[in-house]
Symmetry: C2
Subunit: 248 residues, 2 copies
Amino acid sequence: MRFTSEQRLDDGVLEREFTLGEIPGILWTPASASASASAPAPLILLGHPPLGLRRMHPRLAERARHAAADGFAAATIELPGSGDRPRWAAAERARATLRRAMEAGEPVGDEIIGAVVLPLVERSVPEWRAALDALLSLPEIGGPVGYSGGVISIGILLAVTEPRIAAAVLFAGSLVPAAMFEEARRVGIPLHVLLQWDDEGNDRQAALDLFDAFGSQEKTLHANMGGHAGVPRFAGDAAAAFFARHLR
Amino acid sequence: MRFTSEQRLDDGVLEREFTLGEIPGILWTPASASASASAPAPLILLGHPPLGLRRMHPRLAERARHAAADGFAAATIELPGSGDRPRWAAAERARATLRRAMEAGEPVGDEIIGAVVLPLVERSVPEWRAALDALLSLPEIGGPVGYSGGVISIGILLAVTEPRIAAAVLFAGSLVPAAMFEEARRVGIPLHVLLQWDDEGNDRQAALDLFDAFGSQEKTLHANMGGHAGVPRFAGDAAAAFFARHLR
């Protein structure tokens, strides 16, 4: 892990870009955290859709500053095939097939969804785990670790396979292949699931079924009005309260 | 409105019992509020199931103290036919019919549900409105007013008919007659709806349909694990944050 740039934001948060092998990433640490701090900050991994870190940066930085205000560090990495990472032709073809089916109003079968989501999950999850190894070796970062948002199937598989993740905020806003419903039953950590009730790109009933499938004893669904990008500000505050309860 | 007793609780909250004509009630005001206070406290009406105020008192007092900690007054009145109020033979017969059907595992039709809920709503709503008149005439109580919990159909009709109620926390935990779905479409105030995902006495799909039916532009559903009485503590905190956002 190699830091490539750093800047101090006006609220004292330190934003550092890094590379982990070929993978670019960003780490935000609260003003209170430093290498000499006696109590390292808990970490929230910020998931995001495969649109590229540069494009997602404003929203990610806002989430990171919200986390920093609660005393948490936050970090994210670029997804395979996105942003400055090498194109991934098979993934792009699968996405194009999905997009055509949706635009044509055709039924989108599990095979089409799986072709988009499953290879992305299989490649991403080991990368997030490797990033976690590197991040947790920094003296200013400690456990426990939370995962927040992004492609929900990545969050599901991380929750199942990565024991250092203690709690997750998941966004029921992307298509979920049937195979992931099986994984969802194996999730045991506390979950806070956000659902946009009128999400145009999402099947509400499938989202409710997925929530029902999670094996966690503590799981909460927060459904709010509006479309995919209309998550209200107070929903972010409620998610922050969830992390404060579980990561402190 | 006549105060019949008063006691100061250990956190400084003033608890006063009152009667409004034949109807008993309880008012809690935060330590900060007094008749000479320059800023009267917003009021939360505490709904409850028809089990009698005496039996419900511990839970109501806890909710009132939570509200008082946020600077809110809280008040409740006895439901018709409950507690020390005169028996209501027709209501008791309707409830017995419902209970028998549920215990026998028979399908509970809308007629049976309506016979229990609709007369209760029709009698209660004018009483809550009269209580509101009396409570808002006290110098230590001001607007805006919130309604919280209890028989959800009473909350729905209050939200539709009482313009002084600015926001409501509703508990999707009781049977709702079809007629109330129509009323729900007319609700326009911000809503915060609690749903216990495994509520043994409640139809989850009906609760989701009711949430969908509400006409409010801001409505949030918080679904948590557990049965009817298992609402987790953090769900109460989230409801308090909702009122703090809308009543301050």
